[in-house]
Each structure stands twice: as structure tokens, then as C-alpha cells.
Amino acid sequence: MAKAEINWAAIDADPRFQALHKKKLTFLWSLMIISVVYYFLLPIGAAYYQDLFKIKVWGPVNVGILFALSEFIVAWTIAGIYAQRANKQFDAMAAEIIKDAHNIK
């Protein structure tokens, strides 16, 4: 069985895996923090900055409506940024390690 041959601790210690782990972790945390902060700005703004939300900018369209719509755009953008980075970089880095998995001792 191939499963038994893999030395997980060795892969974990491998510089290529460590590089993937570090890149991924910082990237994921930054995206996560940005999206959570941006999301909670909406209820906070709606409750404590009503005067700002009420400013009309485009006919009856006010800051509040644009801000709520921007939540969708930001969510989609973050998802898009993650997918692009994962497809381009993380998958390739992981593929390198997978290819070599049985030889890392």
C-alpha cells in the first residue's frame, strides 16, 4: 500500500510545504479579516452613522443602499481573488509536493 510509505512529518518539515503553508495562511487570514470587518461595518453604519447612510447620491439612491450593494461586490471580489490565487499558485505548489510525496523522507 502506498499510504504506508508516506512520511507525513517529513513532508510537513519540507521547505516547499512550509512555503505553501506560510503563503496560504497569511493570505487566507488577510482575506478573512477584510471580509469580516467590511461585513460588520454594515450593521454598525446602519445603527450609528444613520446620517451618513441617508445622504442621497444618485436620485433617491443613498449611501446606505450603495454600501449594502457594495457588500455583494466585495464578497464576490474576495472570492474571485482567492480562487485566482489558489488556482494559479497554491494548486501548483501542492502539485509539486504531491508528485514528490513518496520520496520525501
Partner: protein, 681 residues
Amino acid sequence: MNLKLIGGAAAAALLAAVSTLAFAGAGAVADEYKWMTFAVFGLIIAITMYVTYWAARQTHSTSEFYAAGRSVTGIQNGWAIAGDYLSAASFLGIAGLISLYGYDGFMYSVGWLVAYITVLLVIAEPCRNIGKYTLGDILAFRNHPKASKTVAALSTITVSTFYLTAQMVGGGVLIKTLIGIDYHISVIGVGVLMLAYVVFGGMKATTWVQIIKAVLLVTASILLVLITWGQYGFSLPGFLTAVIGDPKVQAQVAKLVGDAATTMTPEELGQRFLEPGLFLKNPIDQISLGMALVLGTAGMPHILMRFFTVPTAQAARTSVLWAMGIIGGFYVLTLFLGMGAAINVGAGPISALDKGGNMAAPMLAQFAGGGADSVLGNLFLAFVAAVAFATIVAVVAGLVLAAASAMAHDIYVGVIKGDRASPQEQVMAARVSSVIVGIMAIYVGIAAEGQNVAHLVALAFAVAASSNLPAVFLTLYWKPANTYGIVAGMLVGAIAAIGLVMISPNMTYPKAVLKDADKVLNGEPMQPAKEAVPAKEASSFMCELFAMEGCVASAPAKAAAAEKPAKPGAADKLVALNAKLATLTDAKDIEKVKKDIAATEKAKKKAEDDMQKFAGQTTSMMGLEKPYFLLKNPGLISIPLGFLVVILGSLLFRDKRSEEMWDELYVRQNTGINAEGATAH
């Protein structure tokens, strides 16, 4: 062969039961057009039954039953996630909230999409890489298998039961309001159909039922938005100008803001509909709900389970991207559906049929097709009603499958059999568990008739966020996490979430109910004019959360109010209305007064029932006269608590297996080496 016969028989029996009761009661659909609704219903049932028959022939192994053989593509899974997630509450409920409260309804929808960021970034791919069928499998990877599978199954069944109860009761009421089918028949019908999908077709049938439902839902919404928004040349300011200039919208805002309306111009009233604060009054409660959504979705067992149906982590990623596109796009459409209903139907007629506004989208459909007397209008209504029905069945099927997999795979196979069950035995256990959970869902649906279950959806998310998410997240990303922390954290998180809700404003407090009923029956005395009151701040942050002794609760500012005349009781009101009716000659006025009489009689009946039901009671089922915990959602406290206990438990006790398995888990969740593969088909 056998399966086809049973499935066919179930469908035929259901159709027969439904058609005999077709004209049983009143609903949004007029009697003469009900055949249309049933024709569309029949068509959807026929298609899904065919899909189930097709899926049943390919469902033999455990992996096929629980995970559709891991052969679902990313795009298909994205649609299925949307179908699984967009329950009737979000389809009809959010459109309804927007139609009644404007901006706040739209703001409410945002969290349901942002939740998928967490799913995408931290949950979907790692879970696909190390998981098999259930939440328990993920936790058991490095924690003690039997202990973690037991708590995971308990939590999965708890979360699913809350969500399932809300769906069954909500679905029964909805079908009754829409087409007037008896509540019990609706619940049994939904239950039997869902059982047919799950038991025979497993995950494959469930997936396709969810895809079909999501496609129907999106089609219906796009069609309605094209018609309602198209009139305004697809201009956002143009459309919203019509909204704020609409007298029905202005009247609704005037009703909502109360005394403050007297000093506002009609334009200001209309514009107020596009500003926050008409519905969501407590920002701390919103943040609490937001936390439950953003972290709870990623811990929902029926959503987690969907990631085991795709062949690779990359496909899991694709499926979340598609799901986010569909779900987010749908909520943006809902803005137009809700506002469109507000100007074309009006808040009055919408809330007359259903107080929560659930009938906004169906009534808009009827209007868009040409109104209540037109064939096309009723065809549209029939279509939306059928989509609502498909929605309930699809969501319920996903939940039953999740709960059944926890029971069969985690408890029976994992804990009782110690993972030594033959493949045939495993599939049998899965099917038997599905039947048990399905029957339980039908029973709960009937037993909970008339209960207020809306808060159970939020509670399900809160438990998932306080119990499942901390355990999964820390197992995947935090090396010191171990069995002790996971077991303790999951139990404490879940118990805290449930316990806080039991003492929250969601429960029924007899004193308040009796007071309201008394107001309806005996009227209110005259109220003298009041001076304006500035907003009060709570004496401390804890006082915002708990009704502790010595606390001053926060209160919003109140505008000055003019003297209010005494309000008559229901009996006096009826006498006055009937006297007025006798003097009227205009058909329209007579119609209006008759409606008022019907509404007053309904309110009187409800107040009398409440008086009888709660006579002599002073405390809630927890022995409280009024809520002790002041938020409706417990997430703000129970989520950090769940995380904290997992961390403390892991640091205080040592577990060798959790430590030894870390390297393998961490490498595998990041690379997908040795991940469960697709079965050939």
C-alpha cells in the same frame, strides 16, 4: 423495478390526496385556478420522481448513497448548494421583509452571502481533502474516533432537528396560505416526497432535486424582476423614485414610524423606506446574528456534506464560487422583488395574508401576470407556489440526509459497530436511518403546529457556529487541539446557545401575551400627550445583554407624541363597524368595511384563545416573567465561549493520538494526498 413501483405509488397517492383536498380551504390561489397550481406541482413531482428513479439505479454503495459517488461536478454542486441553502425563509421571507420594511430587509440578506466567504476560505477544501461523509469523519481524523463521532452526531442531529422543525412547520403554513391545502396534508406530503427522494435516490437524487429547485427559483425571480424593473428601463434611480413616490409605501412608513410621521412630508416618508431602522432596531442583536450566520453556515452539517459529493478540492472551490454567484445574485434580485411588491401590491394586502410578508413574492407574481382575475397572473402565481413547494422539499431532503448520515454512519457504523460493518449493512443502515429521521420530521411538523418556529432557524445557525465550527476549525488549523477540547467545546457551545435562547425574548412570556390580548378585547384608555424623551444608554455593556439587577436598559429616543384618544375593545369595534356597514351604499366601501370586520373578528378570536391558553400563567417555560437574556440571537456569547472551551480543554489535557495525527492531517488538508476518490461511473 421495485423502486420504480414504490416511488410511483407514493407520487400517485400524494397527488390523489392533494387533489381530493384541492378545494378544501381558502388560500392566495383562487379556487377556480387551483388546477393550474396542481398541474405545475404534478409536473415538478413527476420530473423529480423520474430523477429519483434514475438515481436509485446507480445508488448501491455507501459512497453513492451519502456522496453521490463523488461524481457531482463543481458547477452542479454550486447549484445544489444554492438549492440546499435558499430555503423558503430566504426566498419568500426576505422578499417579504423588503416589501414591508424596505432597506432593513435588504440589509438582512447580506450576511447570508458573506457566510460563504468563511466556507470558501477555511472549510470547503480542507474538509473535502480529509473528510469522508460526515462532520464526525472530519473530527475523528485526529481526535478519538468514537468520542468525536458521538458528539459530532449529537450536534448534527440537534442542528438538523431545529432547522428541520422550522422548515416543516413553516412549509406547512406556507402551503396552506398559498393554496389552502390542509396543514397536516401539507406536512405529510412534503415528508413522503422527501423520503422517496432520500431513501431511494440518496445523495444523487437529493442533489438533482436541489439543482432543479435552484434553477426554477432563479428563473422565476429573473422573470419577475424583468417585468417589474423593466417598466422603469432597468434604471435603479428610476425604480426607486417610483418606490418613494408611491402612496402605499408612504402609508406603510407612516404606520411604522408612528407619531413621528405627522411632521414628515410624503416625500420624506417615501425616502425613509430606503433608510435603515424600520425593522432592525438593536445593532448588538444584529451583530450577534451576523456572527451566527458568518460562522454558522460553515458549520451546517447539510452544507458540509455537499463538499463530499465532488471529486476534488478544486471542484469544491468551484462549487462555492458558483454558489456565491447564484445566492448573491438571487439576493440582489430580491431587492427588486420586495420593492416591486411594495409598490404593485402594497404592504396592506401582503401583511393581511401573512404577517411576516411571506406572500409578497407570490402576490407580485400574480400582479405581474395581469392580476387576480387573469389567467396569466394565476399561472405565474401557480408557478411561484410550486417553486416554494419544491424549495421546502429540497431543503428538507438535504437536512434529513445529513441527520441520517450522522445516525447511521457516525453512531451505528462508527461507534456501535466500531467501523466493522459490511457495505450492504452500511447502506441498509443509511436507508433505515433516513426513514426514521423522515418520520420524526413529519411527527415534529404535526406536533409543533401553531408554534412560533421562526427563531429556530437562527438557533440552528447559532448552535452550528458555537459548536461545530470551533471544533472543525481548530481541528484543521490548530496543532494543540485535541479530543478533550473538542468534546467539551462542542457540548458547552451547543448548550450555551440553546440555554441563552431559552431565556431570551424568543420564548413566550404569558404576562406580555395576556396584556396584549387584554388590549385587543377591552381597548386602551386615552393616553395624554407625551414630551420627547432622549435616547437612554444602558448602564454598562453587560446590561445590554442581560436584565441584571440595578441595570438601566438602553432605549431609543422617542419623539413628542400628541394626545391619543382611547381605543375601543374588539366587541365595541365590531358593533360600530356593523352599524357603519348598514349605512353604506358604495360597493367599494362595503367591501372595505367587511374586510375590517373580518380582521377584527380574527384578532378577537386570537386574543380570546390566548386568554384561555395562558389563563393563570405568569412565567415562561423556564419560569421567567420576562426575558433575562436580552438578545434574540445568542451567538455573541456562545460562539466565543465555544472557541474558548475547545482551547482550554486542549491545553489542560493531553491526547497522544491528536498530536501524532497532526502532521498527516495538516499535510493532507493542504495537498489532498490520499483524499477519498470518485467511484467510477
